[in-house]
Symmetry: C2
């Protein structure tokens, strides 16, 4: 016995949207950065414009450490899901970039600790993350979970904020060296290194996403992944602004010495 109603249902269903062209898809990804990458955040402007106290820069650096420390875990989470050996090999250098690779590569986390050390923060305190804002830690772990759970192409897409990173790193290096007497070339090594690493990684990931997201739905999930990742970054600056600019430091978080 057939159900006539199901035929009717089929005929009134919305047709699935056509996929975007590769050019439109790339433009949609880049538009997210123009709209809501964290270089639009007022805390970013204050940081680079020399408007923060040393204590506020300390708060930024120790919170941002949580993000740095999570990145190799999220990359390993992705690698753990890949059946394609070539893609695993390609992605693995990201773990080296952050965790280091003996004998010559100390890695980005170590470079970040050179920054927090240069700011006078105790290394063990930074690494313990005890003083980090809970909002920072929740945002960062949301990123790890996202990469662990979303479809591979969408997980790769969440890394695409790196397309927008070189500009912010350049602003950061120039602005911070110029505006703060407690910042020197040595402690800015992290960002200098990322100027070379990020574009290479971003281009690889962009090409991967452009080729592998085939349906409109997959493409939109990838654009949403870039939005999600912008939120991960934005929340961190919101939390810093609320706690250390507006003065609402939550219980247990880092309190700069007066």
């Amino acid at each position: 016995m057939t159900e006539p109603v199901s035929l009717e249902r089929v005929s009134t269903e919305r047709k699935p949207a056509e996929p975007m062209s590769v050019a439109d898809f790339e433009a949609a990804i880049r538009a997210v950065g123009a709209e809501r990458y964290h270089d639009k955040h007022s805390f970013h402007h204050m940081l680079h414009g020399g408007k923060l106290t040393m204590a506020q820069v300390q708060a930024w650096a120790l919170n941002r450490y949580c993000y740095q420390a999570a990145v190799p875990r999220k990359d390993a989470a992705l690698i753990s899901r890949l059946h394609d050996r070539e893609l695993r090999r390609e992605w693995l250098h990201r773990v080296h970039d952050h965790d280091g690779l003996p004998p010559d590569e100390p890695g980005g986390i170590e470079r970040w600790l050179a920054l927090t050390n240069g700011l006078g923060l105790d290394r063990n305190y930074v690494v313990s993350m005890r003083g980090a804002l809970p909002a920072t830690r929740f945002a960062v772990e949301a990123y790890v979970t996202f990469v662990r759970e979303q479809p591979i192409t969408v997980a790769v897409a969440s890394s695409l904020t790196e397309l927008f990173a070189p500009k912010i790193h350049k602003e950061r290096i120039a602005g911070m060296l110029e505006n703060y007497d407690f910042i020197d070339d040595k402690v800015m090594a992290y960002f200098k290194r990322r100027l070379a690493q990020a574009p290479r990684d971003a281009n690889f990931a962009l090409n991967y996403v452009l080729q592998n997201a085939k349906t409109r739905e997959e493409q939109e999930a990838c654009v949403d992944a870039v939005r999600f990742k912008c939120n991960v970054l934005w929340v961190q600056l919101d939390a810093l602004q609320h706690a250390y600019v507006e003065g609402n430091i939550p219980p247990g978080a880092f309190r700069p010495e007066a």
Copy 2:
């Protein structure tokens, strides 16, 4: 061949701390509430004191919906890890309390939607969570992940903020009914129901934790779980205050009509 160095290592190791007495352990758990439960947050005082606009109460209600909607998932995550059938049966009513149980129990999420509906918010918009603050969603998902990943006793301990809930619910019911003409008895049904549910659940969970955390380390992990959960709640109010009191609404979040 024995290694003398390992004997030396053993002798200089710190002795593990003695477990706390049950009374001290319970006091340590309750002290976390006194120190950092979200009834200490200024947004809470504004909410209950009638200091918020309807738009700000809308923002609170639609963000808090994310928390309500996550609770049965975190309870199911716990149940999915329990090999003890009695404990599963005990814990299952929490899912009913939130998701409902036909024919008579609509559940807490439905009651929450009566609140958001009473505030003039579109049901589909609330349920979609499109307008929720990213910080809210990250905090709420951190709670689900915590319960999914931590040892069972520690996961149970993270529910113990319910020990502190009846006081806040009473304040909320009285304060909101008195101070806002857009709030009536009907939309406050969620909180009235929780006045009966929360103490029963909290007492069960407290007894479970007091009995099952045996070492000092386990006890401290349970106290930390209550701190963690207080952070989950605190971050939500911080984000509301930053966005809707201080006026820093992040890209994509709910914007009240002027």
